[in-house]
Structures are given as structure tokens and as C-alpha cells.
């Protein structure tokens, strides 16, 4: 039963002038009883009051960060996170809570030391990039050549042969994380591109927005047919220092020692649990986030916040008996950071069931204030979501953008036509901490985290309750 009585759109428009897009609301009000903006607003307010009081998401995140901590795929902590997540979903009363096996890459960092050796000696603050090969036993020392783009690298042609390439471009701060999108190909594709031109190693100015001598790691993506060379991130300050030396015409030499290794793939799991719908339990709205994190911080923003938002959104709806007609499914993915085995595994293992996945929402943009959702769906999906999001105006999460793929993990269901939503947060501060030692619990704002839970819960409820599912994406072969 819908928790709030349906109201007429006409009354709504009088009560909240300028709020509604009349076409949407009128349609929604007539066909989606209980999902009118005023009803969803009242629900959001109720959820918000409850979450701010219980601090349920924050308490879960505190446990994940403080008692489990960094949890890179294949690590004991990742295994502990899987166990904790499954136990917590069971305690929440979800059904069929299960660990769905996936084999994950098992990369370990080991000792590492990056040193400027010419023209002065200085220990540099760096971190191997995830999945990097180690340096040779005798270390790796080379002359530095600096570029600020893949095009600039290409233009150097043979001049990088035998050198260490420094990818040195500053990232800008913005609420959408667009700066990261623009610059991250340097980290992903840079090592193989440089290797093809004969480079012996690569360094990259950390993809981050706060200069606090804090290196930010992240994965690289070796191309199969290119030589694999060691790659590490440097703190912004160190990259600027090297730049100044190079600009002064110096020959700059750096020594890299990375003892990282990739072991055999390790067994791990996605954690999945259902709150079965009251009328159409076979139709699924999936809420996803990722359990794994990088190995150097506590994975608070990335993606502990998403994990606890997903858990708590369902728990909160359940505890207030806001039971939608379709099933809400928590999927806590493994290995988003360095392999996406969880995302791919889920899509493959559930291929038959994907036609009954009516929507998926991913939360993997940190715990900044929620802003709204990205929507990739069939014709009209965006407008429907925009209508639902009007219930979130008190928490400011009404911005709906069309496009994207919702997030790395759920994107693997795109080919099956599943409508994909991504919870958007204000990412202005996110990349200060992302993939660094400093992605720790204290960086989480309790109120913003609670608002994220509410945004996710309300949108998930609306998608699971609506008379008609969102129009699907055109299936791809």
C-alpha cells in the first residue's frame, strides 16, 4: 500500500508554484498514486528525520573504515568486508543474502621508493599505480621527459626511448568530477602509450585537487600487446618540483623501486540481498556500490559511502515499512577499482534475470551533498525520473541529467537494456581525498551522507513502486 494518499496535480501546483513540470506531474499523479512530488517530499522528510536521528549509515561506515579499513581486491580486508556486508544485510532482514563468487585480480603493493637523483637528491612522495608491474631487481633509473597529454607524448615519437615519462597535467576542481574524466586517460592509457614509444617507466602527477604532498593511486590499463612498464603517481608538489627543474634546462634523473606484484586471481564475491517486493517480487530495482577500495586510505568516500547508502536506504525504507511493490536488491560489488570483475560477473551471472531488472542505481561518487541523478534509459525515462526527483528538493537533489552509464559496475547491464541511474553528489571536494591515504572517515559529513541515503531511498522507492517501469534502453547485441 502506498504510504501517502494520492493528491491531485492541480492542488499541488497551487501549493508549490513553479515546482512541477506540469506534463510529468499530471501523468504521474494520475498513474502513480503515492509518487506525486508532495507525497515523495513528505516521505523524504520522514526518512531524513529518521536517518539524522539514527545515523545508521554513518555508524556502518565508521565500522567499515575503522574496523576493516582499506580493502583492495584479494586482500584479507576485502574478505572481511564481504563477510561484514553479508552479515549486516542478513541482520537487516533481507532475503536470499548471498555471496556470489567472482575471481578477482590480486595485486599487492609491497615496498616502494621513488627518488630524484639528478640534479639533486630528494625522496619523492609516490604510490605505484594499481596493477603496475614491479621495477627490475636492480631498480630502474632513467632520465625524465615531461608531457601534459597523450598527444604531446605521441608528438615526441622516438625521443622517449629509454626514458621515464612524466605525465604532468593539473586537474581542476568542479562539482561534477569532469576534471577527473578529462585527465584520467593519462593514468589509464599513459603507461602503454609510453611503452610503445620505448619508455622504461612512467610517473604521473596525481589526479587530485588538494596539494598536500599526498599521492593518489588508481589503476592503469595495460594494453595486451604493449610492453608492460612500471608506473607510479607522484604528489602534485613533487611533479611541480620536477617541472621547475626541467624548465630550468636540467637533466633530471629519477630512480624507481616498486616491489608491487600481481598474484594469481583470488576468489572473492559480490554480496547480494533482496527486499522482496510486495506485489511484483520478480521485478528488480538494483541499488549498487562497491565494497573494494584502494589499499592506502580507509575507502570512506570511495566507496564506503556508497556501500552504506545502499544498505541504509533499504534498511531505512524497511524500518519505516515503506514497502514498494517491486523488489529492492542491494548489490555490493567487488573489484570496481582494478578489474570490474564484480560488475561484469553480476551482469553475466544474472543475464536471464536482467530483463526483469527495471532499473539500477549506482552510488559511487562519494558522500558530498547529493545533487540528483544521471539517467540512461529509453524515451521519457529522464522526464519520469525528473518528476520523482521533485520530491527531493528539500535536500537539493533535483538535478537530473541525461546520459552516462550510472556507474562502472552497473554499466555492464547496459547491453541488456536496463535503465541506469547514477546518484550524483557534489564532488568539489571528492578528489582532494580520492584514492589517497586521506580518504578516511573524518572526511565524511554526516548530514550529507544522510541526505545521500534519503535521495537513494526515495528514488529507489519511486522506481520500485511506479505503475509503469522506466522505458528501457535499446538492447545492444
Amino acid at each position: 500500500m502506498p504510504p501517502f494518499p494520492a493528491r491531485r496535480a492541480a492542488i499541488l501546483l497551487v501549493l508549490v508554484p513553479g515546482l512541477a513540470l506540469p506534463g510529468i506531474v499530471a501523468a504521474g499523479a494520475e498513474t502513480n498514486a503515492g509518487l506525486e512530488p508532495a507525497a515523495l517530499k513528505a516521505m523524504a522528510e520522514r526518512l531524513r528525520t529518521e536517518e539524522r536521528s539514527t545515523q545508521g549509515a554513518y555508524e556502518r561506515l565508521a565500522w567499515l573504515c575503522d574496523r576493516i579499513g582499506p580493502r583492495l581486491s584479494g586482500s584479507p580486508q576485502a574478505a572481511a568486508a564481504v563477510g561484514w556486508a553479508a552479515a549486516t544485510l542478513r541482520k537487516d532482514g533481507l532475503k536470499d543474502v548471498r555471496q556470489e563468487p567472482v575471481m578477482v585480480p590480486h595485486w599487492i603493493r609491497g615496498d616502494e621508493e621513488i627518488t630524484l637523483v639528478t640534479p639533486v637528491t630528494r625522496r619523492l612522495e609516490g604510490l605505484a599505480l594499481g596493477m603496475s608491474v614491479p621495477t627490475p631487481p636492480e631498480d630502474l633509473t632513467g632520465e625524465l621527459v615531461e608531457v601534459d597529454s597523450l598527444d604531446a607524448l605521441k608528438a615526441l615519437g622516438d625521443k622517449v626511448r629509454g626514458r621515464i615519462v612524466l605525465f604532468n597535467a593539473a586537474m581542476w576542481r568542479d562539482p561534477d568530477g569532469e576534471g577527473y574524466g578529462k585527465i584520467s586517460p593519462l593514468r589509464h592509457a599513459g603507461p602503454s602509450a609510453a611503452a610503445r614509444q620505448g619508455a622504461i617507466g612512467t610517473l604521473i602527477r596525481s589526479l587530485g585537487t588538494l596539494d598536500a604532498r599526498l599521492p593518489h593511486t588508481g589503476t592503469l590499463s595495460y594494453e595486451e600487446d604493449a610492453p608492460k612498464i612500471p608506473a607510479a603517481a607522484l604528489s602534485a608538489e613533487d611533479a611541480m618540483h620536477l617541472h621547475r627543474l626541467l624548465q630550468a634546462g636540467e637533466t633530471v634523473r629519477v630512480r624507481m623501486r616498486l616491489d608491487c606484484r600481481t598474484l594469481a586471481d583470488a576468489p572473492s564475491a559480490n554480496v547480494v540481498g533482496d527486499w522482496r517486493g510486495r506485489e511484483r517480487p520478480d521485478e528488480i530495482v538494483l541499488l549498487g556500490a562497491h565494497l573494494d577500495s584502494w589499499d592506502v586510505g580507509a575507502g570512506a568516500h570511495d566507496d564506503g559511502a556508497g556501500i552504506v547508502m545502499v544498505m541504509e536506504a533499504i534498511h531505512l525504507l524497511k524500518s519505516l515499512d515503506l514497502h514498494p511493490r517491486r523488489t529492492l536488491r542491494a548489490v555490493l560489488y567487488m573489484n570496481e577499482e582494478n578489474g570490474t570483475r564484480g560488475g561484469r560477473g553480476y551482469a553475466a551471472d544474472h543475464a536471464e534475470e536482467l530483463p526483469r531488472h527495471v532499473a539500477a542505481i549506482e552510488s559511487d561518487r562519494g558522500a558530498g551533498p547529493p545533487l540528483g541523478f544521471s539517467v540512461a534509459g529509453g524515451p521519457g525515462a529522464t522526464e519520469t525520473v525528473r518528476g520523482f526527483a521533485q520530491g527531493l528538493d528539500a535536500i537539493g537533489a533535483t538535478a537530473i541529467t541525461e546520459g552516462g552509464d550510472g556507474g562502472v559496475d552497473i554499466s555492464r547491464m547496459r547491453a541488456a537494456g536496463v535503465p541506469l541511474l547514477g546518484l550524483k553528489s557534489d564532488m568539489s571536494g571528492y578528489f582532494d581525498w580520492h584514492h589517497s591515504r586521506a580518504d578516511t572517515l573524518d572526511k565524511i559529513d554526516r548530514a550529507s551522507l544522510a541526505d545521500g541515503v534519503v535521495a537513494l531511498a526515495v528514488m529507489a522507492y519511486a522506481l520500485a513502486e511506479s505503475d509503469t517501469p522506466l522505458p528501457r534502453l535499446p538492447p545492444q547485441p
Copy 2:
């Protein structure tokens, strides 16, 4: 010859209403030709234009940070800094540029690793405190007990026996650096106080104002008759994590491995150079800062900025032929950070000459926007300095406070009655970087650094030019 014609105070007051303290200006205008606020303002403007154009201080600082870097007493880099400073002062045309020998403590960091071992395992971000003894060869592991003050430690009495004490108090951000003054006794005195009660080691939440998993080192001060126990600083995040575990009632155990060592005292030097006064060369206005820095950053704010301000203030006056009647002396002290041997050595070696030191100004508060000066002098000294500082109102450095000791290095001349001034900077951001890996060149704002040079130059000029020296402090036995 004074560079600007004297003007009548009455005219000044009309031209710049509300600017002057009439009593001061009237006195100054009659007795200190060329040092009226309007004249000093014009001088400041000229110096500022020149410094902003040449970026002389910044260029020197870039060299010190990028080519020499961290320069803890006794290190090869400290020796390089001494050589560079002496060569630079000679190139600037100063006379009698000399390296005045001092023996300095020679502490070296070595490897270090601090690990949370119970109830979870986590590598903690820490740095040994300067002058700490090492941990025993088998490492040091103990249960943590947390206090937020020396009083709280005392109240625990025997309960800290066999434990590691965590001094855990957050520092506040303020423009005056008062937060540091309040909290730094925990770092200085905490280890010996804890050792007297039977503790086996101490940790301290870093004295810093930015939480970026960045530990801040700094010296401790062992008491002679207390047991010496190892001591380290932790990042704020780690201290908060430990606090949460302790608050939850956990037994928290930490392992410390500090391989730091104190070697035999090493030979080093203060670097001293004079620009001899045009009329009273035997009377000296001393400009001081310290050449040494901690071993983990580049010593940009602490105290590379002070060093280049002192050098450049004299160089700038000299290059514009603003030649005061008394001698301007640059004293670039060694070992402010962990022993003050330079400050004590200079005062002892120059004891006979100190009666002719008419004033000393220290710059050791970073390169934030200059705010004014602290003044410790005889009756009327503060008012005279306040009058001179009115020439600095365009750069906002007019705030004059009475008291203090000017700075750690020059304070050693207090007993001899030397009037002591400290250049005050806005320290709101200073403790984000102070004593950390992130005290690097990029943290320096060029305009603020240039303004600091101008503030120092104008005040030094006025003190060296004035008809009557500042009233001296009452000599102490």
C-alpha cells in the same frame, strides 16, 4: 642622506586623514627626517614595485627549496645552505660575510614505522619527533592510554606505567599562531612527563590545522633527569581513529619502530653579513631568520621565507640606494629547530657588541600576508615602532603588539637589553604545512612574500635611520 624630504605633520594629517596618531607623528616628524609616515609610505611603494617586478625573494626561495631542500642541522643540505647563503650575501655586496661556527645537534631520522596492531592492523602515518631516542632493537609495542593535556596525564598517575601515551588534542586555526603556542608544550614536555610516570613511549596528534593524513614533526625537549622514551607524531586522522577505538572501549595496542639516532655534535655555522651604515656603522640593526629546517619538506615557510626576506630586504634597499645611517646586519641562524645553538652562539660570541645592537627583527612566521610587528623594548619603543609601521598601511602591516621576544633566535639577546621585534604574518594557513612534508615552494604566495620583504625593509630602514635608537629593554643579569 634620507631619500625623501621631510614633511610637516600638519600637512600629512590633512592629506591622509585618520591615518596618524598625532602625538607620534609630530614627534617623529620633528626628529626623524625622512621617517614620517608619508615618506615611509612612498618608500614602501617604491620597494614593493621593485620587488614585485624582480621577484628577488621568490627566486632565492625557489633555489633554496628546489636545489637544496630540507636542511636539518648537521645534514649535508644544511652545509649547502650555509655555503649558498654566504655566497649570496657576498654577491649582494655585503661586507665581512662570514660563517660563524656553531656546533649543532646531529639527529637523523632513519626508517620508521608505526603500526596499530590491536584491535585491527593498520599502518599509521607518523614521524618521529626531532631528538627522539630510537625504539629498542626488538621494536616497542604497548597499550595506548590517551590524554588531552599534561594535567590529564598527571591525573592518571601510575596508570600510564608500561603504556604508550597518546597526547590527543586538536589545534585550532588562527592568524596569530596562538593555537600552536597553547598546544606545543604537549610535544616539548610530554615525553619526559610521561616517562616520569613510567610510560614506555609517546605519540602525539600532529600540531597542524589541515587534516590530510600529514604528520607534522618538531622537536621534543627531554628533561635531563627523566628517562628518555621514544616519541612520534601521528597524522590527525590516525589520532582520531585511535580515539574512536578507545572510546568504544577497545584495548588498543601500537607498535613503534623508530630508527632515529643522535650522532655527535656537528660543526656548522651562522651566516652573517653587514651593510655598513653611512654614519654610525658601529650601531647595528640585526635582521634574523633561520637557515635550518626540518628534514621532511623543503622548509619553504619555515623558515626559507624568513631567510630570503632578510636577504632580499637588505639587497632591495641597497639596490635602490636607500642607505641608512646604521649598519644592517643579516644573521642567518643555524639550528633554530632542534637546539637553538645558533641563537645562543651568536648572543654569546657577540656579547661585547650587543650594547651597540640597537634593535633586532626576526622573521620566522612564514610568508603569509604581513600584519605588523611585535615589539619588546623599553618605554616608548612600541609607540615609535607603531609610528614607523604607519608607512606600511598599503600592505596592511600596521598591527603593532607589545611583548614577546621577537623570535626564538634573537630572544637570546634579551638579557643584553636589545629591543626585539618580530615580523608578524597571517598564520591562518601556516600550520597546515609547518614541519610537514608539504612545506614546499608551491605553498608560497609571491605577493605576500614580496610584501613581507617590504615590511621588513621599511622597518629595518627606519630603525637604522632614526635619530634616536629605540629605548632598550632593562638589562637582565
